[in-house]
Symmetry: C2
Subunit: 321 residues, 2 copies
């Protein structure tokens, strides 16, 4: 949990005359983030199958993968977007669990030797290192099934739950995360055009981040007129997140990241830094932060309702891990 350094970073990026007001806002953001990260952790600990239940090794692996780590960006986006749409927080818990289960399953599979072959994740040994490869694969598979199960059980009307299931399935499948990972595999060692790179990232990480924001809103009651602008916010934030990830892979060290730094270069991956260069990648992230802010304004909703999503967009671009 790097909320302290994140908020420092945002404060530093501001002009002096803004610092005091932003300082108060950010301290309230840091508190809100901690509360919701803690809430998510408690929900996940309660919802995941108990480590004492058979098959214990699988359940231990699933809990190891999900609990006690991660910035919980996707759950935070769910809660913030759900607050904007005045959703019931109990329903948002289900949505937050579903998107984080999917995110975690993708990390567990991605870290396997046949993919990125990584040994460090969220500051701990990866699941296949702590357990074994077969268990890691099954834990990922089971987390995907759990994601759909927990989503289908949200305390919402049947039609709303079904919408959420469809939104998640689209974000995970070949038009979303899995498709983006496949393009990433095919692109290793090849030179990509900026447009191809953007398409890959819109699918690989952008689709699930976007879905987190839209699903949070769908769990509540969002004015239909606000939806297109919220979609634009979600697109911008999804892409900005990945650009910053690519920048951090170059600029941060493994201890900061809790995962292996410098691995994009080692694996000759196409990233925003390799394709655009570091400075232009930073400019693009900053530009997307502004796009996200404008989009929130264009929802036509009061600033008091959109403010949390604005803060999260700023945090996502300013983060250092």
């Amino acid at each position: 949990m790097k909320t302290e350094s994140d908020t420092d970073a945002i404060a530093q990026a501001r002009q002096p005359h803004e610092t005091k007001r932003r300082g108060a806002e950010l301290s309230s953001l840091a508190q809100w983030m901690r509360e919701h990260q803690d809430r998510f952790e408690a929900q996940a600990a309660g919802a995941l199958p108990s480590a004492t239940r058979e098959p214990q090794r699988l359940h231990r692996a699933m809990r190891y993968a999900v609990l006690g780590g991660g910035k919980r960006i996707r759950p935070l986006l769910v809660y913030a977007s759900g607050e904007l749409a005045q959703a019931d927080v109990g329903a948002l818990d289900h949505v937050a669990l579903a998107v984080e289960y999917v995110h975690v399953y993708s990390l567990v599979h991605d870290d396997l030797p046949c993919m990125d072959d990584d040994v460090l994740r969220r500051g701990k040994p990866t699941v296949h290192v702590a357990f074994d490869e077969a268990t890691a694969m099954l834990a990922g598979d089971a987390l995907q099934a759990e994601a759909f199960r927990v989503l289908a059980q949200a305390p919402l009307a049947a039609a709303a739950r079904l919408d959420l299931v469809q939104e998640l399935a689209r974000a995970v499948g070949t038009d979303g995360m899995c498709g983006g990972q496949a393009i990433d595999l095919e692109a290793a060692g090849r030179v990509l055009e900026p447009a191809q790179l953007e398409r890959m990232h819109r699918m690989k990480t952008g689709a699930l981040l976007r879905a987190s924001i839209l699903m949070g809103a769908r769990a509540g009651h969002l004015e239909a007129t606000a939806l297109p602008a919220l979609e634009r916010y979600a697109q911008a934030v999804g892409l900005a997140f990945q650009i910053v990830d690519d920048i951090l892979d170059v600029e941060a060290d493994s201890a900061q990241l809790g995962k292996t730094a410098g691995k994009d270069k080692a694996q000759a991956k196409a990233t925003y830094v390799t394709v655009l260069g570091l400075d232009e990648a930073k400019d693009r992230a900053e530009q997307l932060r502004r796009t996200a802010g404008v989009a929130l304004h264009e929802t036509g909703l009061e600033a008091s309702r959109t403010n949390r999503l604005l803060q999260l967009a700023e945090m996502i671009v300013a983060r250092r891990s």
Copy 2:
């Protein structure tokens, strides 16, 4: 497609005086199976992402895994159970795709080197041999997401679709298929009690077969009084299928099976044959066939409605591949 030899086998297992009547019934079963296998194949070919769409390698691997092979036992159970419940066949197509996608994803992942490390499946090289391990893993992951997507899009009321999503998620997760596979992993090289073995198989293969039958019925309108008996049928058929699989692993050769024969023994797996012995395993399969027949009778439905499921139970026990 081994329908000819399956129906021969059933006919041979009968007494001479029954042969003529059963011969006519079985030829009608063989025709019904071919029609529905062809229907499923056409549905899957149309529903799966096109091989010419990006990411092509992923889509090619998904189509390679699903199309042109397999007995389609689960789709057949869906169609038969759906007919019993007078379901719309267009809705059953979605259910059949969903259960078969899940089954295929589990085969693709199960065949990977970190699991069973198998090179032959449905008479073809396994997906990681024909493509590569990373693509095989992603194809399995994407097929799971596709299963939930296609199910959530079935032409049924939202509440019914949601029921189906929940039923499938339960059958796939740690209380079902993934949990059973994890128990199987832990059990390798160990001696299991018959009750432990049965529990493992009820989860590993039984849960999805059972779900196929119940989901087919849920897609239509089944008399509530018939449901408990249909559940007993589904339990019996799910378990009988696995016992026969274990018997065939010993008695059939790889060419018949289209997958590597004798592999349970080579991997020191606990099976019905190793735990009960061959003769007792055959007795148990026959006993479950009778249980399935009695359960169908106890649904209180006319024989004309339950007959197809009865024939499928007999085919599942008598099959030679």
